[in-house]
């Protein structure tokens, strides 16, 4: 006789699972985008704007005859085309931005609600089998939510990308509005439509990522340049003496290195900010004043990167003499 294997789940557990499904469905229907619903029929507006996206708007705009433009001058027609295109692009952009933010919010809220319901029923209702089934379902949702929450893109970078998209659009819009204050001889419909295209692209994720990356790269370059040590002829002249000072530092015992480090520390504040920062980066915990081996490694770097004027080299010689006498 065949055996039937299965788990019996109580009615209350079935109710709980039904409530969870309802939470998720409700959340999916009512996406918490944070944006109010549009007060107009966006699709109808965009549909009405379609003639202004026609490929022949450029040729119509440049036609010498106003009759080709329904009696509008070249400038009036240019302005009309640009503003209608901007209107349609804006509507699509706001839909896009709302969809980006609601994607994360919907999943997050649904998972929160589901976990609360399942955990609550698991703790308070049914027998051991029911509790185990509910706990397992709850754990599954927690796991799924963790996946969502560790999505770095949505949690951490999306707000920055939205700000970048808005900034890029605003910059392009400023160019367009400035151009539209002038005649078509100075700001043709061709130029205007190219700028409108820039406005559209500015509101895209690839453009925002590219901008943010470029800015980060520029910031890194600027930070690196601040820590550049620029060498001059005096540095070149002091090479041999520096080499001999380095040899002396390498031969120090740890105890002697600690003495030299403490003596030379008195001179550090007179060095350039750049050199001070470099040495701080090398020993961020300041261990060169406590540990002989670290002091020696720290001094070796300092010697070879240090200024090579006679005063600096005398300081080294005096400190080494004092430690090794």
């Amino acid at each position: 006789m065949p055996m039937r294997v299965g788990i019996r789940i109580s009615r209350s557990a079935i109710d709980a699972i039904g409530l969870v499904v309802a939470c998720i469905l409700l959340s999916a229907c009512e996406a918490l985008s944070g944006y109010p619903a549009s007060v107009q029929d966006d699709a109808a507006v965009i549909n009405a704007d379609q003639p202004y996206f026609s490929p022949n708007v450029r040729s119509i705009g440049e036609s010498p005859s106003d009759s080709d433009r329904g009696g509008l001058t070249q400038r009036q027609y240019r302005d009309m085309v640009v503003y209608r295109q901007l209107e349609a692009i804006d509507l699509r952009y706001y839909e896009f931005e709302a969809a980006l933010t609601s994607t994360y919010n919907t999943l997050d809220v649904a998972a929160d609600l589901a976990v609360l319901v399942l955990s609550g029923f698991g703790a308070t209702t049914g027998g051991a089998t029911t509790k185990a089934a509910l706990a397992a379902a709850s754990a599954g949702i927690v796991g799924a939510k963790t996946v969502v929450q560790t999505d770095v893109f949505y949690q951490k970078t999306l707000p920055a990308l939205i700000v970048q998209m808005r900034a890029s659009r605003q910059a392009a819009l400023a160019t367009i509005k400035s151009g539209l204050t002038t005649d078509v001889s100075r700001y043709s419909i061709d130029q205007a439509l190219n700028d409108v295209k820039t406005y559209y692209v500015g509101g895209s994720l690839p453009s925002a990522i590219s901008q943010v990356t470029a800015q980060a790269g520029a910031t890194l370059d600027a930070a690196n340049k601040k820590l550049d040590l620029v060498r001059d002829a005096a540095f070149k002249q002091g090479l041999e003496q520096t080499s001999s000072i380095l040899d002396r530092v390498i031969k120090l015992t740890p105890a002697q290195a600690l003495v030299v480090a403490k003596l030379m520390e008195l001179n550090l504040s007179a060095r350039s900010q750049t050199l001070q920062q470099i040495l701080k980066n090398r020993d961020p915990k300041g261990k060169h004043l406590q540990d002989g081996a670290i002091a020696q490694a720290f001094l070796q770097q300092w010697v070879v990167l240090d200024d090579r004027d006679s005063a600096s080299q005398k300081q080294w010689a005096d400190a080494l003499d004092a430690a090794t006498k």
Binding site: N224, L227, D228, L229, V230, R231, D232, A233, K236, L239, T242, S243, L246, I250, I278, N281, R282, D283, P284, K285, K287, H288, D291, I294, A297, F298, Q300, Q301, V303, V304, L305
Partner: protein
């Protein structure tokens, strides 16, 4: 992987020959640098000596 810190030194080509920069590079290796490279091309006016150093005291509690 141990933490490292990088130094960049700018040597004007009008003052320094490649050999001068190589001598400085050897000195830094002797002083404990992990590695060092000379960038001869990215800046037409200067040699750039880029040297990597280990961060000290990193394994201490």
């Amino acid at each position: 992987m141990p933490a490292t810190t990088t130094t960049r030194e700018v040597f004007p080509k009008a003052t320094f020959s490649l050999s001068d920069v190589q001598k400085q590079q050897q000195l830094e290796i002797k002083a404990g640098a992990i590695r060092s490279t000379i960038d001869q091309t990215s800046d037409p006016q200067n040699y750039i000596l880029i040297t990597e150093w280990n961060v000290l005291g990193e394994n201490d509690p």
